[in-house]
């Protein structure tokens, strides 16, 4: 055993897994799901064929053991014709051979199955990464994860194990032929119960499968109530609603209990039949086989052999039943997976797209129309020109389309009509990578990954030197608080790490964009969650940063707007006024009103902070 394990371990480390392979499903959606999966399965052809053939050999060897056994009993013990020892050696030989072959067949099969799962998972991940923002606007991450996990599992299970279960039919065939050559009526009596095993099993699964879903759903019901009570404990206690909550849980628990009992009763009705039917077969073999032995038409050892066959074959018959279940589940799962894989990215790269290198930072938006997923108009013929090196503040009410514009500039979406030009090129004629390298965005709610602060800042340019990272952090006003953390730049943040405040996250995001050194920079409300105080501190840094690049600042604080050379005021999806801040205040009443409203809101926050801070 130890030896086999070692060789196997060596094999694992040596087993080549081609990390560069790029499997795809068949693009023709009218094909059956199995045929669509073929391109993914075919690269594993050899492994699967190896697994099937060794399984086949193993099963044939296994099926020969009872034959050797009954031959031994009859030839040596019942009739004394031959010595016993050779039979024994044959049996041991068969058993050892079967053991070794089955070890390889299982190992090969599992390896093929897991390699297939690897392909399916990475294929899904790659596709998800390729999809455009518009896809993520309409789906929930939770759904995607469940598809990328349990559905892939279900498909993999079927693709990998269904053919192997089918191979067992061959085993059944071998046994059937061996038995027929010995005694035809006894053969049918012996295996006569097996179809009943299959039918009863099918009947049980037909009922068990739905009821176990019900049980699962009701378990979830109970969990939901508990979850609510844990999170809403305060409200429940405040309104003295404990009794009602206990009753609602007691009801959900009763529903769960009822469904579980239903499930148990279905099992209690069918499982004993499935388990005991083969025994009835053994009884009948004893009777009919006994009749033939008594009438000297057969030797006694054959009864033992037939018994062993019945016992051996009952497991595959139960597996055959599983096959239909697996295939139903896999078909449903495959449908759900294809739904994602058939999704095409809306924003795509031209085949002959050009790379924009060393952009001047000249940005032209010309008559841009846009609505999310073809819905309500958000941008309604917007035109704006950002000259190289210029800083423009974009001001407008919530929902006026400011953030949408920033998303169009990075080609998270494409305009419905109109055009966006970088250095005179339509962005749709440029490679996606070069557009995104040229235009850097800092959003109002930045996402940090569960990696170190260093890696978060260097996210867009993993090859950045430590000094570059520190320089970016310093410019963004993040260096000081990072150094105050116990692990400094090595502090792991994000969902599974240290929690930073909104303002701190913001500054990391600014640093992240700075490291990439984009010729065009968009600050989308990026400083709004930073205290006015801190913002003033980093203004100097921001000013340096804006030098030499084109910057679009979406903001409403006068201090931030003050950084800009000019202001573009947006309303109803278009720029309605442009000019210097002070001029606009006088000439454009809507601009002044928007600023005042935003200001009031901001100051209320400041006031709230004042209540909290000044008291000290």
């Amino acid at each position: 055993m130890a030896i086999t394990t070692e060789t196997a371990t060596a094999e694992v480390t040596a087993s080549p897994l081609d990390l560069t392979r790029r499997p795809r499903i068949h693009p023709d959606a009218s094909r059956s799901w199995l045929r669509r999966c073929l391109p993914v399965v075919m690269p594993h052809k050899k492994a699967f064929l190896g697994a099937f053939s060794s399984t086949l050999v193993g099963i044939v060897l296994q099926m020969l053991i009872p034959t050797a056994l009954m031959a031994g009993i009859d030839g040596a013990i019942v009739t004394h014709k031959h010595p016993l020892m050779p039979y024994i050696l044959i049996i041991v030989g068969l058993a050892v051979g079967q053991g070794v072959v089955t070890y390889f067949s299982r190992y090969l099969l599992f390896r093929a199955a897991y390699d297939l799962e690897f392909d399916l998972r990475t294929m899904m991940f790659e596709h998800l990464t390729r999809l455009s923002q518009s896809f993520y606007d309409r789906v929930q991450t939770g759904q995607l994860i469940s598809r990328a996990n349990s559905d892939i599992r279900a498909v993999q299970m079927f693709l990998a194990f269904a053919p192997n279960i089918s191979v067992r039919f061959v085993g059944f065939g071998v046994a059937f032929v061996i038995m027929l050559t010995i005694n035809v009526p006894l053969t049918f009596i012996a295996i006569g119960t097996l179809p009943l095993v299959y039918i009863t099993g099918a009947r049980m699964r037909f009922l068990m499968f739905p009821i176990s879903w019900v049980v699962q759903a009701r378990t979830a019901e109970v969990a939901t109530i508990v979850d609510e009570n844990v999170n809403g404990a305060r409200v429940i206690k405040s309104f003295a609603a404990e009794q009602r909550q206990v009753d609602s849980l007691a009801k959900a628990a009763k529903r769960l209990q009822w469904a579980s009992e239903k499930q148990i009763n279905i099992r209690a009705r069918y499982a004993p039949i499935i388990e005991n039917l083969p025994s009835a077969g053994l009884g009948l073999v004893l009777l009919v086989g006994g009749y033939f032995v008594i009438h000297h038409e057969m030797l006694l050892g054959r009864i033992v052999g037939f018994d062993l066959y019945v016992l051996m074959l009952q497991a595959p018959f139960q597996l055959f039943g599983m096959l239909t279940m697996l295939s139903q589940r896999a078909a449903a799962s495959a449908g759900r997976i294809f739904e994602i894989l058939d999704e095409e990215p809306h924003v795509t790269e031209h085949p002959d797209a050009v790379t924009l290198a060393d952009s001047q930072g000249d940005v032209v938006v010309d008559g841009a129309h846009f609505g999310y997923n073809g819905g309500a108009t958000v941008l309604d013929g917007l035109s704006l020109h950002l000259r190289p090196g210029e800083t423009v503040a974009l001001v407008g009410r919530t929902g006026s389309g400011k953030t949408t514009l920033s998303r169009l500039l990075t080609r998270a979406y494409d305009v419905d009509s109109g055009v966006i030009r970088l250095d005179g090129h339509d962005v749709r004629d440029l490679t996606l990578a070069s557009v995104r390298n040229t235009v850097g965005v800092v959003t109002d709610d930045p996402f940090l990954f569960s990696v170190s602060l260093h890696d978060n800042i260097a996210y867009g340019r993993p090859d950045a030197s430590y000094d570059e990272v520190v320089a970016a952090a310093t410019a963004a006003g993040a260096h000081d608080f990072i150094m105050a953390l116990p692990e400094g730049y090595d502090t792991v943040v994000g969902e599974r790490g240290y929690t930073l405040s909104g303002g701190q996250r913001q500054r990391i995001a600014i640093a992240r964009t700075l490291v990439s050194n984009p010729p065009v920079l968009i600050l989308d409300d990026a400083t709004s969650s930073i205290d006015v105080q801190v913002e003033l501190e980093i203004h100097h840094a921001l000013r340096t940063l804006m030098q030499g690049r084109t910057t679009l600042v979406i903001a409403h604080r006068p201090s931030t707007i003050g950084l800009a050379d000019r202001v573009a005021y947006m309303e109803g999806g278009r720029i309605v006024a442009e000019g210097r801040h002070t001029d606009l205040l006088e000439t454009e009443p809507r601009y002044a009103a928007t600023l005042a409203a935003a200001q009031a809101e901001d100051d209320r926050n400041a006031a709230a902070r004042a209540v909290a801070v000044t008291g000290r």
């Binding site: 394990t5 694992v12 087993s15 990390l19 009993i73 020892m85 068969l94 058993a95 190992y107 599992f110 690897f118 990475t122 991940f125 995607l144 994860i145 996990n149 499968f209 739905p210 879903w213 109970v222 969990a223 609510e228 009570n229 844990v230 809403g232 305060r234 206690k237 405040s238 003295a240 404990e242 206990v246 009753d247 007691a250 628990a253 529903r255 209690a268 004993p272 388990e275 005991n276 053994l282 009884g283 004893l286 009777l287 006994g290 008594i294 006694l300 009864i303 033992v304 062993l308 759900r336 919530t398 996402f447 005042a596 200001q599 209320r604 709230a608 004042a610 209540v611 000044t614 008291g615």
Partner: protein, 625 residues
């Protein structure tokens, strides 16, 4: 099943369509559980420590019947090979078809018996187990309701959830499969051993000495390795899912920074580690399964060799030899399962320990045994020399004395951590003061029942919480029996009319905590409406710190004014504009009441409040300029 979440885009969840019809048919006979009622009492019912024995002890007669069925089942199942032996030796060997027929009939009867008893056993033990689990679920949940707020704030929500989910699931495993299987397999092994030794001592001993050590060793080897192997698989799949979910959550950044290629590469290497972990367990399984088959095959050969020798020397009947060959396989399942069950048993025990700790947790705020109901109050609140500390030695409130006459609105202001919220929690008796007393209408809160007190209070927490259910259910949370008119009055009072008309099903629209159909402002209005509908004498409100748009702010201000009208109100104010509208303002700092008076009085005096007001005023005027 629950409420249908209508999520645009991809549909997932719920019972698959093809199963729904059968599921419906199966559940058609289900009784109506709407009348289920389990009385809840604040005092703890028993102080006895919870244990597996105690849990099972309550169902002794039912368990005794289970035991009986288990023994009968094991016996009936092992009769087959023995009867085969008798049939061969007495019937076939002697050429008596009649005897053979009789024995086969007996054989078939035992098979039917085994099936029937097995069915009864599965159903009976299952139902007893479910009954037990149901009791336990309700008991754990009731105890959670009993525990005070500090338990819910100190303990992570996820961990509390585990008590009711995976811990009970572990016990379910133990009760449904574990204990019974342990018995069935143990008994089977004993039966087979006894039968083999009775049939032939020598061959019996040889068989046992061959099977036990080899199968035992192989199984132990497998279990030890597969434990670590599967742990590895679990942690690797967790990594795969974590990486996937993080990439999906941060997809904007991934795209914006052009990290696609690199992240795909990274994901590939993570999935590869998962695949390698799987492959390790695959190897173990590839050794274990065929390994036990090998032992079986060699065992059969051994029995035929030695048994055959005995038969040839007339020391053994051919029927007995057959019985040995057939019985051999019956050793395998018990050994394999007993080793597996050890894990189930350990997990079950761990769950029992955790539940036992939970039941031993005493609520920090307890109802006095002689607590009386608080009669309808006028709403006068008094704090008399109140000290409070969450943990000893770290005082949060020190010597606070404050009288709030009935009908007054008082605003508590002060820096974060000053103790404002704690005062509110003492008034609602989420905590008891460490010294001094809190009185309502002159009665110490510790002397009244929790329910009678809280029914007369209306609490609006800082973060409004929505329960899964209709909007109506959420509003009428404090008073489920409220009439439509009452609900509509509350909606009108807090100005939610437009929300009701906007929602697809009006008041019956299904909303839930993580639902996004309600804006932050609307959620707060629902919380206010909830308090309004309760028609409390005293309102305790912790103002939300989150930023709302101006319009929502206005609406909340209006609703709040309506709510506090004619009631005693304690407002924890985060905004000075709120404080300004209160009858009096109490300034709390470092656990002490440092200033108390009307807004105008405090602004005129030389105190902390005036400083705060000035700062606020200047920031306001700078905004206006």
């Amino acid at each position: 099943m629950g409420g249908g979440d209508n999520v645009p885009g991809l549909q997932f969840g719920g019972i698959p369509e093809e199963l729904a019809a059968t599921a419906e048919k199966l559940t058609a006979s289900e009784p109506d559980w709407s009348g289920v009622h389990v009385p809840f009492h604040h005092p703890m019912p028993s102080t006895k420590r919870f244990s597996l024995r105690q849990l099972l002890g309550a169902h002794k007669p039912a368990l005794a019947l289970s035991l009986l069925l288990v023994v009968a089942e094991a016996a009936a199942k092992q009769a087959g090979p023995l009867l085969t032996k008798v049939g061969i030796d007495r019937g076939i060997a002697r050429g008596s078809m009649h005897t053979l027929l009789v024995i086969v009939v007996i054989y078939l009867i035992t098979v039917v018996l085994a099936a029937v008893i097995s069915g009864l056993r599965v159903s009976w033990t299952g139902i007893v187990g479910q009954r037990l689990l149901n009791d336990l679920r309700v008991r754990v949940f009731a105890h959670l309701q009993r525990l005070s707020l500090d338990y819910f704030t100190d303990e992570k929500a996820g961990r509390i959830m585990t008590r009711m989910t995976s811990d009970i699931e572990s016990l379910n495993q133990l009760l449904q499969d574990g204990l019974v299987n342990l018995l069935v397999q143990g008994l089977t092994m004993i039966f087979v051993t006894v039968v083999l030794l009775t049939l032939d001592v020598k061959l019996g001993l040889i068989t046992i000495f061959f099977v036990f050590p080899t199968m035992g060793a192989l199984t132990f080897w497998y279990r030890n390795r597969s434990d670590t192997g599967y742990d590895e698989v679990r942690s690797e799949i967790a990594n795969v899912l974590a990486d996937l979910s993080e990439n999906l959550a941060g997809i904007r950044v991934v795209t914006a920074t052009g990290r696609e290629r690199r992240n795909i590469w990274q994901h590939r290497s993570i999935v590869k580690r998962y695949r390698d972990a799987n492959l390790y367990t695959a190897q173990l399984n590839a050794v274990y399964g065929p390994g036990s088959q090998l032992i079986g095959g060699v065992g059969q050969a051994l029995i035929v060799l030695i048994g055959g020798y005995f038969v040839l020397h007339h020391q053994l009947s051919i029927g007995t030899l057959t019985a040995f060959v057939l019985y051999l396989g019956n050793f395998f399942a018990p050994i394999q399962q007993l080793v597996q069950l050890y894990g189930t048993y350990q997990q079950g025990q761990a769950a029992v320990r955790k539940l036992s700790d939970l039941f031993a947790t005493v609520p920090s705020v307890q109802e006095a045994p002689d607590a009386t109901d608080l009669p309808p109050i006028r709403g006068e609140i008094e704090l008399r020399g109140v000290d409070f500390a969450y943990s000893p030695g770290v005082p949060v409130l020190e010597d606070i004395s404050l009288l709030i006459p009935a009908g007054e609105t008082i605003a508590l202001v002060g820096p974060t951590g000053a103790g404002k919220s704690t005062i509110a929690k003492l008034v609602t008796r989420f905590y008891d003061p460490t010294a001094g007393e809190v009185l309502i209408d002159g009665r110490d809160l510790r002397g009244v029942t929790l329910e009678s007190l809280r029914r007369q209070l209306g609490v609006v927490p800082q973060e409004p919480f929505l329960f899964a259910g209709s909007l109506r259910d959420n509003l009428a949370f404090a008073k489920p029996e409220a009439s439509d008119d009452e609900v509509l009055a509350a909606i009108d009072a807090v100005g939610l009319d437009d929300l009701v008309s906007r929602l697809p099903d009006g008041l019956d629209t299904y909303i839930h905590e993580r639902g996004t159909s309600l804006s932050a402002g609307e959620r707060q209005l629902v919380a206010l409406g909830r308090a309004f509908l309760a028609q409390p004498r005293v309102v305790v409100l912790d103002e939300a710190t989150s930023n709302l748009d101006l319009r929502s702010e206005r609406r909340i201000e209006v609703a709040l004014d309506r709510l506090v009208q004619g009631r005693t109100a304690v407002l924890i104010a985060h905004r000075l504009s709120t404080a300004m509208r209160a009858d009096r303002v109490a300034v709390i700092d470092e656990g002490r009441l440092i200033e108390l008076g009307t807004h105008d009085e405090l602004v005129r005096s030389e105190g902390r409040y005036r400083d705060m007001f000035r700062t606020w005023e200047s920031s306001w005027s700078s905004a206006a300029s």
